[in-house]
């Protein structure tokens, strides 16, 4: 009979056991699924409006800005109706903001559990990301209704939302792991998150088009602007679905590079912090 050998040693960043960690994560696949379902179920069990909440957030922001731009008569959406223009970008955006905000406090809000039982800790932030993605699926149905209402059909460019969603998930996983691990020792992270997300929204082409930024900013500042990985993701999503355009190549490549760097780095850091999480939460 062969038995698995488990070794516990002092934390060391120089000795990442990422493969062993991933193997362990696979053993807990059932927990990941159960906890994700639980996350979604509990959220809507406690509220009257239930699943509608997934739609209310992007819808509310969209309505507020539609109202504002209607009053100002300066909707920056070109020949696409502004509600559709804004809502298409708000879907990936609200998924990102709620996923990141919830994931970053995932460890500290489960202190009692973390000091009692071991399971791969990354499951906690990851389940919040799954919940955010389920919300995304629900709010996408409203986008479909809006497209029908405004008579905007789906084009072949819609295929570009596949890499955009993949990058969105990657970015959420990387930042979610990083922020939740940082939050264990620096509670400031959780407190800073709402402000950060607010600023981030305006630094991302959600309520205005990327082309306008390209025109307005000098090339050096624009290059800096595009370093924000959400630029490529949000812009690709909207272009593919409602503008029927191919993505902005450089912006999408930047997003891909950021994700490729941040996911492994965040996971190694997370597994390093994980070893002493129970002492700090």
């Amino acid at each position: 009979m062969s038995r698995t050998t488990t070794v516990f040693e002092p934390p060391a960043l120089g000795r990442p056991q990422t493969l062993a960690a991933l193997r362990r994560l696979r053993q807990f696949a059932d927990l990941f699924v159960t906890l994700s379902i639980h996350r979604i179920r509990v959220r809507y069990k406690q509220s009257r409006l239930g699943l509608l909440w997934a739609v209310i957030q992007p819808l509310a922001i969209m309505l507020v800005f539609t109202l504002m731009f209607t009053v100002l008569r300066t909707a920056p959406s070109g020949n696409v109706p502004f509600p559709l223009f804004a809502y298409a970008a708000l879907i990936p955006w609200t998924t990102f903001s709620s996923g990141l905000t919830n994931a970053s406090t995932a460890l500290t809000s489960h202190a009692a559990l973390l000091t009692k039982v071991y399971f791969p800790r990354e499951i906690l932030p990851l389940t919040y990301i799954v919940a955010a993605l389920v919300d995304m699926a629900i709010s996408s149905m409203v986008l479909a209704l809006l497209m029908l209402w405004y008579g905007v059909p789906l084009a072949a460019t819609a295929i570009w939302i596949v890499p955009a969603i993949a990058l969105l998930i990657g970015l959420l996983v990387g930042l979610g792991l990083l922020c939740s691990a940082l939050q264990v020792h620096y509670r400031d992270v959780g407190l800073a998150m709402p402000v950060l997300v607010q600023i981030w929204l305006f630094a991302t082409p959600v309520l205005y088009p990327l082309t306008a930024v390209k025109k307005a900013l000098p090339p050096s500042l624009y290059a800096l602007y595009v370093l924000n990985p959400m630029v490529g993701i949000v812009d690709t999503f909207r272009r593919g679905l409602v503008l029927h355009e191919s993505p902005d190549g450089p912006a999408l490549v930047v997003s891909a590079v950021v994700v490729a760097v941040i996911v492994p780095a965040a996971y190694i850091y997370f597994k390093y912090v994980e070893l002493t999480i129970a002492d700090a939460v």
């Binding site: 159960t34 179920r41 069990k45 009692a112 039982v117 002493t276 002492d279």
Partner: protein, 405 residues
Amino acid sequence: MSGRPIDLTLDGVWKQYRLHTRRHAETFWALKDVNLDVPRGASLGVIGRNGAGKSTLLKLLAGITAPTRGRIVIQGTIAALIEVGSGFHPELTGRENVFLSGAILGMRRREIAAKFDRIVQFAGVETFIDTPVKWYSSGMYVRLGFAVAAHMDPDVLLVDEVLAVGDAEFQAKCLQRIQELKQQGTTNLFISHDLTAVERLCDSAVLLEAGAIVASGSSAEVVASYHRRLSLWDPATGQTTIDSPRSGVALTNLAVRNPDEPQAVAFRTGTSVTLSLRYAVARPLSNVEFELRYYSADGRTCIAAPRTGEHGDALDLKPPGGVIDFFCEALPLKSGSYSIGALVRDLTTSRILAWWDGETRLYVQSGPATDAQFYLPHTWRVEHDETGVASVPVADSARHRGQPT
């Protein structure tokens, strides 16, 4: 029993915690150089007072936190038998929570489904299984949480204070389940305050004190050692007073002999006994006293504690050390086995400077004198009344010691 594989190895394990006080961060070592080997199928008890490092050890073994130094190697799957009600969500039903907490413990969904009926029956909450657990009584909540953990089948089982859970009937069920797992060949590590349970369930035990293993051996021996040490604990400081390296004095041996029969290993009630306590001193010490402690064999009862300072005598000690002999003219103990400890106390501060644990055994056989609880030396005399009616007055032992008149 040799040749059994070692399921659990602790190799020089240290664990440091940071205490964040208002001004600065202090650190303390919760575990200091702990070494353990637990062979497959063995049951090891870990005992010690609150704060001795038991829970830290459990957390390290369960993988909840990592050691600061050293290495822990575990062969096979490990699971902690703990109450997992903390993983419950109040809005979910008992059924949903069983699946949730089972998954948290690392059980597969299929496995939980197969064991579901047994878990519910074990917890005794059949009628309420589809009710949200927020309506449960605290007893039901805890029992269900524990029942889930009790139905894992690990290679190595960590048990933490089972007997603090639920009522007597539920505790009996838990013990039964532990026995069952033990019979299946599970390696057990039993962390508990409940010394009776440790003695009953464990073959061997270790005693933790201030993060270090201070005694190990058969569970009965270690439990006895625990009892003896308990009396040395200073509740005011929360520290044990056994600190010989710093105090500069150490007790190195305690020998018991019969001055009339130097070869004897057992002693008889009523015969004389000499106890020789050897000590080593690093620097001159003044105003100290020695004390002997006679314990029952299990260490639970301190029977007698003669001191050199009984009448206010203070001793001064000089390096390198020496021997102090205690003489007992007539051993008052009835037949049986006893353990003897000794200590040196600073009379100025009442601090215990060094401690000789009751590793010295004293075996007593019935003497010619008594079969009662203990031997009380008496002298006696007879006075004949003039009228011819006999009476037996109490002997005046101070004047006629050992001399029947």
